[in-house]
């Protein structure tokens, strides 16, 4: 029964279809465009970005995906998949007055239902109280990690895709709410402090995740070529998924002991928090960057850790790079479960043993893996880059890694090799 992707539960973040206020505000802003006055404003800008990518995986009994919420990827679904990294984004930026601006961004990529309907990623109105203090309302992207806000813009990042070991912890990107950003300068150091509050709904193949009372703070220090990042956030997380309630309800049939197990692992209104640190140094000819993150869920999702370090060297238009990454779980990977000796009735005993086994399989399946990635990016034309990347994923014993869509015969643990090619562009 719990043959369900473990990580879909991480859908903490953020995504919702209820955008009433934001859309009304954005419409108002656009309606005002015609009336605004000024030498530089109103100004309307159309920008876009996209990735055309293919991925090959040598594991044919599970899918490799760049987002654990989608149903298909490379490996089982297709030998070579163009669905893992390909996407197209369009953005309209309106500067209405020197202080008021609005951003609407739509992205077409593989959705939770396998379709490619464009979705609203950003839709907000920004008001600059001063040049250094800005407020936004509407739909926007959480800055949980160093590259969260532009993780879908392949051209802006060195990799084909952000390392899943860290970025899997927040598989959904946007939320509906408010944020405030304050920039200050001390000598030659620029500090940006950001606070967010809102909520998010995320659908995935087979269920839906809801994050409520989601808040976060992030801090970025930039000093010349160096930058330091830190963030902390929390939410009340609920995940509804076919079969999961039935699974924990079955535990509850076993009295107080079963209740305790169900309370411990179920995912109804559980407190979720995530902490991350990052640093980068990019003097021009070479760069190095790294991030470390941990999340605690007080549920079957477990307590996750992840880190990566990426370094690259620029030789003309070509940038070879290497990434090492590790995903781990610090919460328990097994549970004694129901005490079988209490259940003398053969059917009850059989049921208890089956539940215990399923629970333990699920706990062990959580993503624990090391990845070594080697790649090279070639900036062959203005606005365009071609990147090739090889990933060697070494999955811990018993774990399903970050793979999804596991098929009968899939063996936990083992290694997976990926080869990816991506054309990134901006305009």
């Amino acid at each position: 029964m719990p043959v369900i992707c473990h990580e879909v539960y991480l859908a903490v973040g953020v995504m919702s279809k209820t955008l009433g206020i934001a859309i009304a505000a954005v419409s108002l802003v656009y309606a005002l465009i015609g009336q605004a006055q000024g030498a530089e404003t109103p100004r309307l800008m159309l920008n876009g970005f996209g990735t055309l990518g293919i991925v090959h995986s040598d594991e044919d009994r599970a899918d490799f995906t760049s987002n654990i919420l989608v149903p298909r990827g490379a490996g089982h679904s297709s030998d070579w998949s163009a669905e893992v990294d390909s996407r197209l984004g369009l953005q309209l930026t309106a500067e209405l007055t020197p202080r008021v601006s609005s951003v609407v961004q739509v992205i077409a990529e593989q959705q939770h239902n396998g379709k490619y309907m464009p979705e609203l990623e950003w839709a907000n109105v920004r008001f600059d109280v001063t040049p250094d203090l800005s407020l936004r309302a509407g739909r926007m992207v959480q800055s949980t990690f160093m590259s969260s806000e532009f993780r879908k813009v392949g051209y802006a990042t060195p990799w084909i895709r952000p390392p899943l070991e860290v970025y899997r912890m927040i598989p959904v990107t946007n939320f509906d709410g408010f944020d405030a950003s304050y920039r200050s300068r001390i000598g030659e150091v620029t500090h940006t402090l950001r606070g967010t509050y809102g909520q998010a709904d995320a659908k995935f193949s087979g269920g839906e995740a809801k994050a409520r009372q989601a808040w976060g703070v992030s801090s970025t220090l930039e000093w010349g070529a160096a930058s330091l990042f830190g963030s902390y956030g929390g939410s009340r997380l609920s995940i509804e998924m076919a079969g999961v309630d039935t699974f924990f309800d079955a535990f509850r049939l076993y009295g107080p002991e079963g209740d305790a197990i169900a309370d411990r692992y179920e995912t109804h209104d559980k407190r979720f928090d995530i902490f991350s640190l990052g640093a980068s140094y990019d003097p021009g000819d070479w760069f190095v960057m790294g991030e470390w993150a941990r999340s605690n869920s007080r549920s079957i999702i477990g307590d996750l850790r992840g880190w990566y370090v990426t370094g690259g060297y620029r030789i003309g238009a070509v940038t070879p790079y290497m990434t090492v990454a590790r995903a781990s779980v610090t919460s328990n990977l097994s549970d004694p479960g129901l005490s079988p000796e209490w259940w003398w009735h053969p059917e009850a005993l059989e049921g208890a043993e089956a539940l215990n086994e399923a629970l333990n399989t699920w706990l062990r399946a959580s993503a624990r893996q090391n990845t070594l990635s080697l790649g090279a990016r070639w900036d062959f034309a203005p606005n365009m880059a071609l990147t090739a990347q090889y990933d060697h994923i070494d999955i811990d014993g018993g774990s399903w890694g970050t793979l999804v869509n596991h098929q009968p015969g899939y063996e936990p643990g083992g290694t997976v090799n990926l080869f990816s090619l991506a054309l990134d562009f901006v305009f």
């Binding site: 800008m45 920008n47 970005f49 984004g89 953005q91 930026t93 500067e95 601006s101 951003v103 961004q105 950003w122 907000n124 920004r126 040049p131 936004r136 926007m140 992207v141 806000e149 532009f150 813009v153 051209y155 802006a156 300068r185 030659e188 620029t190 930039e222 010349g224 003097p283 021009g284 000819d285 620029r314 238009a317 900036d379 203005p382 606005n383 880059a385 901006v426």
Partner: protein, 146 residues
């Protein structure tokens, strides 16, 4: 006659070679702007959208030359140590998060001189030979980059 023509063509040719070999981009403000110097870090932060004021506290509007122009490539190489592709990637991060737009760009040295001269809050850059050749010295001030 023929010799004079040839020598002047030769002279022009030499001037071009020497000119291109010593091509140097200088940072300029309007003559009405009191700024005399900027640190390299300040210049970098202004052109990357992190700093929006001159050291005097007045607001600054950086102006770019069009991508592909020699002055554009030399400016980013010599002062910021970055390639046009790196600059593009940097602005992609800001554009697609609604956090900023790259500096407005102008076509060439002459348009840059006119734009900067006309606006006391503008900061720009152009080929030093243009500054010497054209009569713009009175309208512009070269900013020393420390």
């Amino acid at each position: 006659m023929r010799i004079r023509l040839t020598s002047s063509v030769l002279g022009l040719f030499l001037a071009l070679i020497v000119g291109s070999a010593s091509a140097e981009v200088v940072v300029v403000v309007s003559a009405q702007n009191p700024t005399e110097s900027l640190t390299r870090a300040q210049l970098t932060d202004i052109y990357l959208g992190r700093l929006n004021r001159f050291p005097s506290g007045e607001s600054v509007t950086p102006i770019d030359q069009r991508e592909g122009a020699t002055a554009h490539r030399l400016f980013y190489r010599d002062y910021l140590g970055q390639t046009p592709a790196q600059i593009k990637a940097h602005w992609s991060k800001l554009i697609f998060t609604g956090r900023g737009q790259p500096p407005r760009s102008v076509a060439d040295d002459s348009a840059m001189a006119d734009t900067v001269a006309a606006s006391p809050d503008a900061l720009g850059y152009l080929d030093s030979t243009y500054l010497d050749s054209a009569e713009v010295g009175d309208r512009l001030r070269v900013v020393v980059i420390e």
